[in-house]
C-alpha cells in the first residue's frame, strides 16, 4: 500500500529525530534508543500497511520503540546480565507525552550532542547525524574525510557520553549561556565550513549551509534566546549572498562587487525580522551584534550607500563584547570606510604591531587594499605578497594574485 509507505518515509524524515530524542529520555541511552527507533520503524513497516497510518505517528513510534525494548530486556533477563536500571526505566509507567516534554527532549538531544566535554569534531559529527539526520557518508563527503573517520568520531562521542555519564538534561538557567554558546558554535562551525570551505576546490558547500540553517531554526524554535536568534539571522544573511560570493570561474567576488539583485530577498527579510526580534530582548551578544552589522550591509542598495557610521558604531560595541583580533580588524576596515583610508591604515598597522594578526592573511590583504587606495604601491605589493604567503584557499589565492597583478598595471 503506497499510502502507508509514503507515510512511513515522511515519518522517518520528520519524526525520526524526535522519536530518538524522546526514547533517549525514556531509555537513558543512545544505543538503546537507536535500536528502539530501528525496531519501531520496522514494526511500522509491518503494521501500517495492514492497520492504516495512526493518527499520531510520533506517539505510535515511541510506544512501539518502548515496548520492543521492554520485550528484548525481558528476553535477555532470562539469559542474565541485563543492566537493571534500563529495564526499570523502560518498564516504568507510561510517561506523559506533553508537547513541552517532547520539545525538551529535542533540546536535551541538542545540548548532549554539543556538550563542551566532547571534542569539537565529535560534537559536529554527532550533531549532524543525530540532530541533523545526515548519514555518516553524507557527513564524510561534506568534510572531505572518509566515512570511517566520521563513524569513529561518533562511536567515540557516544562512548564518552556513556562512560562519563554525561546527563541527558536541558541546562539550568545558570548553565544556559555557556552551554548555548557551545551548541551555537557547533552550528556556526558547520555553517562556516559550508560557506567558506577550508579545503577542497569549491568555495562553498551548500549541503552544510542548509544543514546549519535547519539546526539554527530548530534551536530558535525550541529556545527563544537572543544569541540563538542572532546566529540564525547572521547565517541567513550570509546564505542570502551565497550565490554571488563566487563568480562562474570560481573566483571570489567581494561584497562591494556582488550583484545585489541576486541576493535572496526572502532570506534577508527573515534575517532582518530576527534581528529586530532579538534586539527587543535587551541582551546583546556577539552573534546578534554581527548580525546587526551585516543587516546594515543588507539594507544598502549598493556598497556606496552603506551606512558605515552605523557599522563602525556597532563594531565599537562588538569589540567590547568580543575583543578578538578578527573583530578588531573588521572594525579597523569599517573605520577606514567611515573616516578615510589613513584612519583605517593607522588602525590596521596598530593591530599588526600588536602581533595577534601577524599570520592572518586577511589582515595583510586589508592593509594592502588601504595602501593601494593611498597610492602606496610598493607597500601594497609587499602586503599582498605577505597575504599570499599565508593564504591557503585556492579561490582566495587567485583573488590576491589578481589584486597584486593589478598594481603593476
Amino acid at each position: 500500500m503506497t499510502d502507508a509507505r509514503d507515510a512511513l518515509a515522511a515519518s522517518y524524515r520528520n519524526e525520526a529525530r524526535r522519536v530518538l530524542a524522546t526514547l533517549i529520555r525514556l531509555l537513558g541511552s543512545f544505543e538503546a534508543a537507536e535500536e528502539a527507533v530501528h525496531e519501531a520503524f520496522v514494526a511500522a513497516a509491518e503494521q501500517w500497511p495492514r492497520e492504516g497510518v495512526p493518527d499520531n505517528p510520533f506517539a505510535w513510534l515511541v510506544s512501539a520503540g518502548r515496548f520492543k525494548t521492554i520485550d528484548r530486556f525481558r528476553r535477555q533477563a532470562r539469559l542474565a546480565n541485563v543492566l537493571p536500571e534500563f529495564a526499570a526505566r523502560a518498564a516504568a509507567e507510561e510517561p506523559a507525552m506533553l508537547p513541552e516534554s517532547i520539545e525538551d527532549d529535542e533540546l536535551r538531544l541538542i545540548f548532549t550532542c554539543c556538550h563542551p566535554t566532547l571534542a569539537p569534531d565529535a560534537r559536529i559529527a554527532l550533531t549532524l547525524r543525530e540532530v541533523g539526520g545526515l548519514t555518516t557518508e553524507e557527513i564524510a563527503r561534506a568534510y572531505l574525510v572518509s566515512a570511517p573517520t566520521i563513524a569513529q568520531r561518533i562511536v567515540r562521542a557516544k562512548a564518552k557520553i556513556r562512560d562519563d555519564q554525561l546527563p541527558y538534561e536541558v541546562p539550568t538557567r545558570a548553565q544556559l549561556p555557556a552551554r548555548l554558546e557551545s551548541a551555537l558554535s557547533v552550528v556556526y562551525l558547520i555553517f562556516n565550513e559550508g560557506y567558506a570551505a577550508s579545503r577542497g576546490p569549491a568555495l562553498t558547500r551548500d549541503d552544510l549551509c542548509e544543514g546549519a540553517l535547519r539546526l539554527g531554526r530548530l534551536i530558535v524554535q525550541l529556545l527563544d534566546e537572543p544569541e540563538a536568534i542572532g546566529l540564525l539571522a547572521l547565517m541567513s544573511f550570509h546564505a542570502a549572498r551565497r550565490s554571488t560570493r563566487v563568480d562562474a570561474a570560481g573566483d571570489l567576488v567581494l561584497l562591494e562587487d556582488q550583484d545585489r539583485s541576486r541576493w535572496d530577498g526572502a532570506l534577508i527579510g527573515e534575517g532582518q525580522a530576527l534581528v529586530e526580534r532579538a534586539l527587543k530582548k535587551r541582551s546583546v551578544g556577539p552573534y546578534l551584534l554581527q548580525a546587526a552589522i551585516v543587516a546594515v550591509h543588507m539594507e544598502a542598495a549598493s556598497y556606496a550607500e552603506t551606512d558605515w557610521t552605523r557599522i563602525a558604531t556597532l563594531y565599537d560595541v562588538l569589540k567590547r563584547v568580543d575583543p578578538s583580533p578578527v573583530v578588531a580588524l573588521n572594525r579597523a576596515v569599517a573605520l577606514g570606510m567611515r573616516d578615510g583610508p589613513i584612519a583605517g591604515l593607522t588602525a590596521i598597522e596598530a593591530l599588526l604591531a600588536e602581533g595577534a594578526l601577524a599570520d592572518y592573511h586577511l589582515a595583510h590583504a586589508a592593509r594592502a587594499d588601504l595602501q593601494r587606495r593611498l597610492g602606496l604601491s610598493d607597500a601594497a605589493r609587499a602586503s599582498y605578497e605577505r597575504a599570499l604567503e599565508l593564504a591557503q584557499q585556492p579561490a582566495e589565492r587567485r583573488f590576491l594574485e589578481t589584486r597584486l597583478a593589478r598594481l603593476d598595471r
Binding site: 548519514t135 570511517p148 562512548a159
Partner: protein, 121 residues
C-alpha cells in the same frame, strides 16, 4: 548446501589498469550472469577497499572500534553476513549485536557503489 566463496586479492594487481586485469574484471561480471542463469548464485558482493572499513570488538559489554581494516592474523575469516543499514554507524550498531563479536572481531565493509568512479591507486 551453501558455501561462502570469499575472494581475496591484492588490489594493486587487480586495479593496475593492465589489459589482463581489466579483462579479468570484465569476465567476472559475465561469469556472475552465467551462474545466475543456472540458478547457482545465491548472493554476491564486491567489497570496497579496506581504507573504507571499520573494525569493532565487544568486550565486557563495551564496544570499541577503529577506523581501518582488521589486521590480526590468528583469527581467520569464519563467516559473513550481508546486512541492510542506513549508514556506516547504523551498520556498526547492528554488527556490534552479533554474538561472535564478543569472542572475535567483526569487519564492517560497505559494498561497492558501481555508479561511482573506481578508486585510483
Amino acid at each position: 548446501m551453501r558455501y561462502a566463496c570469499l575472494v581475496y586479492f591484492d588490489p594493486k594487481v587487480v586495479f593496475n589498469q593492465s589489459a589482463e586485469s581489466e579483462a579479468v574484471l570484465g569476465d567476472g561480471f559475465a561469469y556472475l550472469e552465467e551462474l545466475r542463469a543456472k540458478g547457482v548464485l545465491v548472493t554476491d558482493g564486491a567489497l570496497q577497499l579496506p581504507d573504507q572499513t571499520m573494525t569493532l570488538r565487544v568486550r565486557d559489554g563495551k564496544m570499541s572500534a577503529t577506523d581501518g581494516p582488521y589486521l590480526e592474523t590468528k583469527e581467520i575469516l569464519g563467516g559473513f553476513l550481508v546486512i541492510e543499514a542506513r549508514d556506516l554507524n547504523e551498520a556498526v550498531r547492528v554488527a556490534s549485536g552479533i554474538p561472535l563479536a564478543k569472542l572475535g572481531t567483526v569487519e564492517v565493509r560497505p559494498f561497492v557503489d558501481f555508479s561511482k568512479p573506481r578508486p585510483t591507486l
